[in-house]
Symmetry: C3
Subunit: 207 residues, 3 copies
């Protein structure tokens, strides 16, 4: 990823019969990418995708009308009417589907690979396209942690300070301070947050 | 993401010692991206990834030889010999692996994050590279809904009108009209579709 | 995706009020993308994302200081201090989080969608940002297969020749030659690799 290192792509272009313009554009792109790789590695100790080199996470959030301090990766797909509060972190490979309206609070971690829906295409597919998409509004409160690769079904209401484990399917509503996990998820305990922000977990004995 | 807003990247380029050409190219890219963000937000109420700004989902499907009306996101990785019918929706963050041949029917929803394999590298990895990849053809029928983040193992045959829940691992064959869910998946019921396309679910009592 | 086929984007630019420069840049990008799609389809029988058209998987691995023969897709997010050995395959939609240090051995398959952490934002989110991220070093040995969409929690130690099934959550240490699966994962058997590299599985009876 140095300025002239990426000779494999250039060789492929030559081998594939590419012309002068193809090579020139590829060289310009590679030069800039290589430069950005080095700049961002040095500044943030992080190597991001091609898209994230160009799309700033805070500026994408701002463009979407999300709150102050919220960031969202380039790969996150945002559809329809989606509102997000302040200081929420939204990871890569996420889907925020606001086809039927979606609202997410402040200070949440929406981990990488999380998909939150407010529509469903189940009936559409099974009926061979004869039935319509179904829709229902979905909401997530403040200070929630939604674990990696978790899927939230359309219509679900998740309260404040909820903890949802990785790989879960949330198809039920969760009250404030709930711990849930599994696919489909089960409620397995409670979160307590004291005045100073100290967090404690109370896990149900039989879970 | 406005025409001149993305000053953070430009500042990083300056701070990192980038030259005139780096800045110019970055400005041209940002200008076009900002414009496309606004155009697509207005037209489709959707904010897609950098790649999806340029790669049209229908045109990618057409390039791949998939059927009429089928769409596929830019991030979907398509390897080897993959056939897909008409009007099938293929989400982002998907893997369609046709190393050992893969066929998907018409009118399916291949939800975001789904990975469908026709090869496996398990033995290759565990043996320290001494054993080969294994391969077997995988097929999915028409009018199937494959839920978010579900993985379909190589060699699996899924019939028509099947419903597979989110986060599942499908490692067994599924007959037409089967409902399955879980990792590894269990068969939990049947789908019925009447002549008008109306869909009903029959869930097994002890599932 | 041919040289002039992608007329939909160009039409959108015209409809959206784009100027001559927007159209010109879009045409140049589309021309190069269309060319690369055809070249890579012909050479590798594979259609990759926009970013992967430009970012060579081996060169990204080299830039990151990973070992000889290791490859990593463009979409993989690599944060902090991450070391990877030789001949390891790292799929798309993966997260390698080295905030608290991460080490992965040689000859592993880190399947698509795998997320490996050495930090956690659970307490940060639940406390409304009052508590800090937590961190702990995570390690994975040689010759491991980590299945699709699996999440490895911070602080976990996975030995050599381990097999972790798809959709798993690994929140416990795994000794050499362990087979584990599930979310959270359970140990379900042992791998045996003989001198010639032949691999056998011994699955526990009651698992």
């Amino acid at each position: 990823m140095g300025r002239n290192e990426n000779s494999k792509l250039l060789q492929e272009i030559k081998d594939g019969g590419g012309g002068f313009l193809d090579l020139l554009i590829a060289k310009i792109v590679l030069r800039l990418i290589g430069f950005l790789f080095r700049v961002k590695k040095k500044k943030y100790n992080r190597v991001v995708s091609f898209g994230d080199l160009f799309i700033d996470r805070g500026e994408k959030a701002k463009f979407l009308g999300f709150g102050e301090g919220t960031t969202i990766y380039d790969s996150s797909l945002v559809v329809g009417d989606v509102k997000v509060g302040n200081n929420t972190w939204i990871g890569p490979f996420t889907v925020l589907d606001g086809s039927g309206r979606l609202e997410i609070g402040s200070n949440c971690s929406i981990a990488s690979g999380v998909q939150i829906y407010s529509h469903e295409s189940v009936f559409w597919a099974l009926s061979g396209g004869k039935m319509e998409y179904t829709m229902a509004e979905t909401t997530i409160g403040d200070c929630c942690y939604i674990g990696p690769n978790t899927v939230v079904k359309m219509g679900v209401k998740i309260g404040n300070h909820c903890l949802v484990g990785a790989n879960s399917l949330v198809n039920i509503d969760l009250e404030d301070y709930t711990i849930a996990s599994g696919s489909p998820c089960k409620i397995i305990g409670k979160v307590r947050v004291d005045g100073t922000g100290e967090v404690e977990f109370f896990i149900d004995k039989d879970s």
